[in-house]
Structures are given as structure tokens and as C-alpha cells.
């Protein structure tokens, strides 16, 4: 349930080549140095066949639960999900093979295309505003303070659940009693139906999402900033570059791999938006915030049309795969920036 779902964000890790990394270990512990000369950093290289044979049973024992978990709850469901998308399936009776019927239905389903559009709009808003605010916040943090308390504070929304974030914002954006609307009325003279009007529903949801994730992404970018050597900025300053110029010409290009990663994480998470919608608008008003995941959920658990829901999930899956591969290519194209 964790990897890249909207509600359960997983910290991204990408493998780095070469050195396994410098880790504080027991390098200076009182170990008898009578071990063989092959105590190098890559123990994989030299090991006797006997050691391999001895390790095997234990290794199999240790990985068994993980392999069972992988096979049962990842591999099998993935294959089954693909299979179900070619069937008519209502849970109580066994699935019936219908070939491409679900896909044909998908192409003619206006609600599906509308929800794709709505989801795309949400993704766009989240990516643009989310990335911009986290980038600016990270850069400003990096320039003026190294207080980890401050970094902790901006991370706070990341730790609470989407449900709570959605609830408190729904209360604050309440048309009559919400503090935001009271302030708006005071300033502009009229209040806004944030969740009750078709035009505002998606931007409001995106605002909640940005509020919740901004600190997290800002910290990712902040960590990236720490790896940029200060000498680069000194050189820039010697050449007479202004702060803004240095930001545009030095910081952004050097950060590109991390920015690409943040954008893609935002896209992947935003496409799977569900919790916030379910708590606030439930897809309304009149499908205005009926994001893809909401529509899939309704199809499956309100109308029990599991086959069609699986087809839509497959479409979403394909979309996300495409996004991920684009990201990998983009990230690779920029790897040489700081090396």
C-alpha cells in the first residue's frame, strides 16, 4: 500500500552507481586483523564456492516472507488486475471474459474522459504551484538559515493524514463560518464556495494537496542544494552575477535532476488523488472533482463493476509508467550537470 500511493507517500530512493556510500561503521573497533586480504568494500567479488553453498539455505529462509509477500500482494494482483480488465466481474460471480469490451466502453465513456481531464487539471495545478513553492522555500531556507527546527515546522503537514488535512481545510474554507471566507468577505465583500462550485473545487483540492506536500518536497530540494559546492556561487559572484541570475543560471540547472524527481513524484501522487476528495467533495459538485481514482472507486464499490474499474486502473497504470519512463530519460539527460 505504500509505494507511490497518494495517501502513503514513500520517500524516493534511487540507486547510485559505484561506491556503496560512506557509512559510519566499526572501522576503529578492536577487531582482530587476521582476516584475509579480501576485506575490500565489495565482498561480492571474492567468496569461495563453499561459502556460497553455506549461505544459500539461510538466505532463502530470510527472504522467504518477502518473496511470499511480493508474489501474493504485488505480482499476482498485478497480473490479475490485467486479466480482470478483460472481464466482466461483479465480485459475487466469477469473472467472465469479454475481450476488449471494457476498453471499447472506456473510449466511449464521457465520464471517464471528463475525470481524466479533471485529474489532469489537478495534476497541473499541484505540479506548478507545488514545485514552485517548494523550490522557492528550499532556496530561501538554504540562503538564510540552517535551523532544523524551521525545516521541521514546514514538514509538519506531511506527517498528518490526508483526512485530517482535508477536514481542517474544509472547515477553514466553509462558506459561512470558515475563517478564510470571513477574511475574504472582509476584504472583497463576497465569499467563495470553495467546494460547492464547479470552478473552485479542483483548485481548492490542489491547494490542500500543495499545503500538505510542500514541506516534504522543499526538504528534498533543500538536500539537493546542500550538494552544490559553494565555490560555484563564489565564482558567480566574482563574475558579478546577481542573486536572481545565479538562481536561474546556476541553482536551477544544477538542481534539475532533483527537480525532475520532485515533479514526477508530484505527478504520480496527484494522479492517485483520493483521500482528500473522498472526505470533502466526494467527486461533486456534478462530477466537477470526480478525479480518476474517485471514479474507479465508485465503479468498483458502489456499482460493483470490478471489470471496468480494473480497465480504468490499467489505463492509469499505463499513464504512470509513461510518466516514470519520461522522468528517467529526462533525469539521465541531465546527469552530467554536476559531476
Amino acid at each position: 500500500m505504500v509505494v507511490t500511493s497518494q495517501g502513503n507517500h514513500t520517500t524516493p530512493v534511487r540507486p547510485w552507481p559505484g561506491e556503496p556510500g560512506v557509512v559510519a561503521t566499526t572501522a576503529n573497533s578492536p577487531v582482530k586483523k587476521r582476516s584475509s586480504p579480501r576485506k575490500g568494500r565489495r565482498p561480492t567479488v571474492t567468496r569461495s564456492a563453499a561459502a556460497r553453498r553455506r549461505d544459500l539455505p539461510v538466505a532463502l529462509l530470510l527472504i522467504l516472507p518477502a518473496v511470499i509477500g511480493f508474489a501474493t500482494f504485488y505480482a499476482y494482483p498485478t497480473l490479475r488486475g490485467i486479466y480482470l480488465s478483460f472481464t466482466e466481474f461483479h465480485v459475487l460471480s466469477p469473472p467472465k471474459w469479454v475481450g476488449l469490451a471494457n476498453f471499447r466502453e472506456l473510449f466511449g465513456d464521457d465520464v471517464f474522459w471528463h475525470s481524466l481531464l479533471v485529474t489532469g487539471y489537478f495534476v497541473l495545478l499541484s505540479v506548478v504551484f507545488g514545485t514552485l513553492t517548494s523550490l522557492v522555500t528550499a532556496v530561501v531556507l538554504d540562503r538564510v538559515t540552517r535551523s532544523s527546527a524551521l525545516r521541521g515546522v514546514i514538514l509538519l503537514p506531511f506527517l498528518i493524514s490526508n483526512v485530517i488535512a482535508a477536514l481542517v481545510w474544509q472547515w477553514m474554507l466553509d462558506p459561512t463560518l470558515g475563517i478564510v471566507n470571513i477574511a475574504l468577505k472582509h476584504l472583497t465583500g463576497h465569499s467563495v464556495l470553495f467546494f460547492g462550485s464547479g470552478g473552485w473545487a479542483i483548485p481548492s483540492l490542489a491547494a490542500i494537496s500543495v499545503w500538505k506536500w510542500m514541506g516534504y518536497y522543499a526538504l528534498l530540494i533543500f538536500a539537493g542544494l546542500q550538494t552544490i559546492p559553494p565555490t560555484i556561487y563564489e565564482a558567480g559572484r566574482v563574475d558579478g552575477a546577481s542573486e536572481i541570475q545565479m538562481f536561474r543560471r546556476l541553482t536551477v540547472p544544477l538542481l534539475r535532476p532533483i527537480l525532475v524527481m520532485v515533479v514526477v513524484l508530484t505527478v504520480i501522487n496527484s494522479f492517485q488523488l483520493f483521500d482528500i476528495v473522498q472526505v470533502t467533495t466526494e467527486g461533486g459538485p456534478a462530477n466537477a472533482s470526480n478525479v480518476l481514482q474517485m471514479y474507479i472507486y465508485r465503479k468498483a464499490f458502489r456499482q460493483f463493476d470490478f471489470g471496468y474499474a480494473a480497465t480504468m486502473s490499467l489505463a492509469l497504470f499505463a499513464l504512470l509508467i509513461a510518466v516514470t519512463f519520461t522522468q528517467l530519460r529526462l533525469a539521465r539527460a541531465n546527469e552530467s550537470d554536476l559531476s
Binding site: T26, V31, S35, V58, G69, Y74, T133, I164, T227, F301
Partner: protein
């Protein structure tokens, strides 16, 4: 890059500040103003939860913009904790619906802590087999398992629901916990990456002293990996505690529903026209409290781990 997976705060790459941090300039004033705004927007909702939770729900409408609780009362908390009588609850604008928050709290605790303990132990064991032991096909198997990172959970949710239903595990903790408790690619990857970097010296000394692989795992590798294990545990616990979608599918019965679901239920049971906001905010505060406590206790570790785990 000399940075590795979350070795702890000590390994923060120290970099001298680019400028004298105490010097005043207009740019710095703008920067601090911006940060002040961000902190305000971040923290204000938390304050508003507290302020609303301590208000009388009826009187909230009379003075909705008051920065302090309106008609200060612990009533909302008593209401959600089931201490208040129905009459008392209704007198303060509650719906009469109570929330057996103790049960949900217990469920959330069981779900999050059992799943975290399970996934961390199993991931550490597997990570050890994939990093310190030597056997044919090791990297191939690892790469296959890690491919799960590519499959979004949204895709496996429906088939997993059908599977858990077929197994008769709906409305059980087993059904809630097992799918995320046996294997999670991220935890495995994270711990393996750390263990790959451990020095082999102690391990080889132990081998010479006659220790077997299992003994080495429990006595040497596990203690040495305490820091990344703590980090993974925190992240996994936060994830499980905040999980909403999977419990929504699996847990229809109050006896296993976690707090996130309970909040939704409580909201639906309160009237649409005049929701019991004070009660809702009190419940939200109670639900968020464990996260806030974790944050106070481990904030620095969380902050640093997020920075590091994101680095390539």
C-alpha cells in the same frame, strides 16, 4: 557523492554559509518575510484545529472569526471520547453521535505498530540476505522484487481487495496488515543500500570465531543498522497511521477500523447543514496527536532522513 542513506544527523554534509548570516540586507528581509508567511500558513490550520476543538459548537456560529476558542469548553473532547451524555452533547451542538475513539485508537495502534514491526524485521532480514550473504541468483531475485516499485498501489488495490475477500480476511487485522506487512520494496531497498556499505571486518572476525549467518545477522548487522532501521520504522509507521484507502476497502466493521476511517464516519454522521466542527476538530486532534508526539521526539531524524533518502 559522500552521502548515503540516512546515517543520521552527524553525517550532514557541512557547508560553510555563503554569507555572513547576521548581515542585514533588503533581500534577507524579503526572504524572512516569505519564510514567516510559509510558517504561518503551515501552522495556522493546526492552531485552528485546537481553537475550534476547545469551542462550543453552538457558539462558534456567533463569533466565527474569534482567534480564541468561543465559549471555552472541553465538551468537544468529552463528546468524541464518549464521556459526555447525549443531552450534554446536543446542548453544545453535537449531533448526539459519539465516536468510540478508544476503539479506533486501539485499532490504529495495532494496525500501524504491527505492520511496522513486521515489515521492518522482514525487510531487514531480506536486506541482509541480499547484501551480506552470497548465493547464486541474488541480484536477479533482488531486481525482480524491486520491480514492485514500478507498480503503483492504485493498480494493485482492486485485485488485492478481491484476493483478501477470497481469503476471507476482510474485517480482520490480518487482511489489513499482511498486504503491506510482508514486503515493501522501499523498505527493502533502503535497508539493503545501507547494509551494502557496512565494513566486512567485524563480520569476518565473527566468521572466523565460528558464528553462522543468522547469528551474524542478529548480533552484528542488526545492531549496526539501528539508525536506518529507526528511520524506516518512522516512515512506515507514519504511512500506516495515515493510511485511508486500504482500510476503507477492507475494514467495514468498527472493531478493526482505524482512526482515519472513524473521522470520515463521524463527519458523515453529523448533520450536513450544521456539522459538529468542534467535535470533528477534537477528533482530528486526537488522531493527529501520536504523529505530533513522534514529531516532537524524532523531528530531527525525520527531517534529515527525508533529505538523505531523496538523494541519489
Amino acid at each position: 557523492m559522500a552521502v548515503t542513506v540516512a546515517p543520521g544527523p552527524a553525517a550532514l554534509p557541512r557547508r560553510p554559509p555563503r554569507k555572513d548570516t547576521r548581515r542585514f540586507s533588503p533581500g534577507r528581509a524579503v526572504a524572512w518575510t516569505y519564510l514567516g508567511g510559509i510558517v504561518l500558513v503551515t501552522l495556522f490550520p493546526f492552531y485552528w484545529i485546537l481553537r475550534t476543538a476547545l469551542s462550543n459548537n453552538y457558539q462558534l456560529a456567533t463569533n466565527p472569526s474569534s482567534p480564541l476558542p468561543v465559549g471555552f469548553t472541553w465538551g468537544a473532547f468529552e463528546r468524541v471520547l464518549g464521556i459526555a451524555t447525549t443531552a450534554e452533547a446536543q446542548a453544545q451542538g453535537g449531533s448526539g453521535a459519539t465516536l468510540d475513539i478508544a476503539i479506533y485508537l486501539r485499532n490504529s495502534l495495532i494496525y500501524a505498530s504491527v505492520q511496522t514491526a513486521l515489515i521492518v524485521l522482514l525487510s531487514a532480514a531480506a536486506a541482509y540476505a541480499f547484501s551480506r550473504l552470497h548465493w547464486r541468483g541474488r541480484d536477479l531475485v533482488f531486481n525482480i522484487l524491486i520491480s514492485a516499485l514500478m507498480v503503483p498501489s492504485v493498480f494493485t488495490l482492486l485485485p488485492n481487495f478481491v484476493l483478501v475477500k477470497d481469503l476471507g480476511l476482510t474485517d480482520t487485522f490480518a487482511g489489513l496488515i499482511l498486504p503491506g506487512g510482508l514486503f515493501q520494496a522501499f523498505a527493502l531497498f533502503f535497508l539493503r543500500q545501507f547494509m551494502l556499505g557496512l565494513s566486512t571486518e567485524v563480520e569476518e572476525a565473527a566468521i572466523i570465531d565460528g558464528a553462522g549467518p543468522l547469528r551474524i545477522f542478529f548480533r552484528i548487522i542488526l545492531p549496526m543498522s539501528a539508525a536506518p532501521i529507526a528511520t524506516v520504522s518512522l516512515l512506515m509507521f507514519v504511512n500506516a497511521w495515515n493510511d485511508y484507502f486500504w482500510p476503507l476497502l477492507i475494514a467495514n466493521d468498527q472493531s478493526v477500523q482505524p482512526l482515519t476511517l472513524a473521522l470520515g464516519v463521524f463527519k458523515q454522521s453529523s448533520p450536513q447543514a450544521a456539522p459538529d466542527w468542534a467535535g470533528l476538530m477534537a477528533a482530528a486532534l486526537i488522531a493527529a496527536l501520536p504523529m505530533l508526539l513522534l514529531f516532537i521526539a524524532f523531528g530531527r531524524r525525520i527531517v534529515n532522513s527525508i533529505g538523505f533518502s531523496g538523494l541519489k
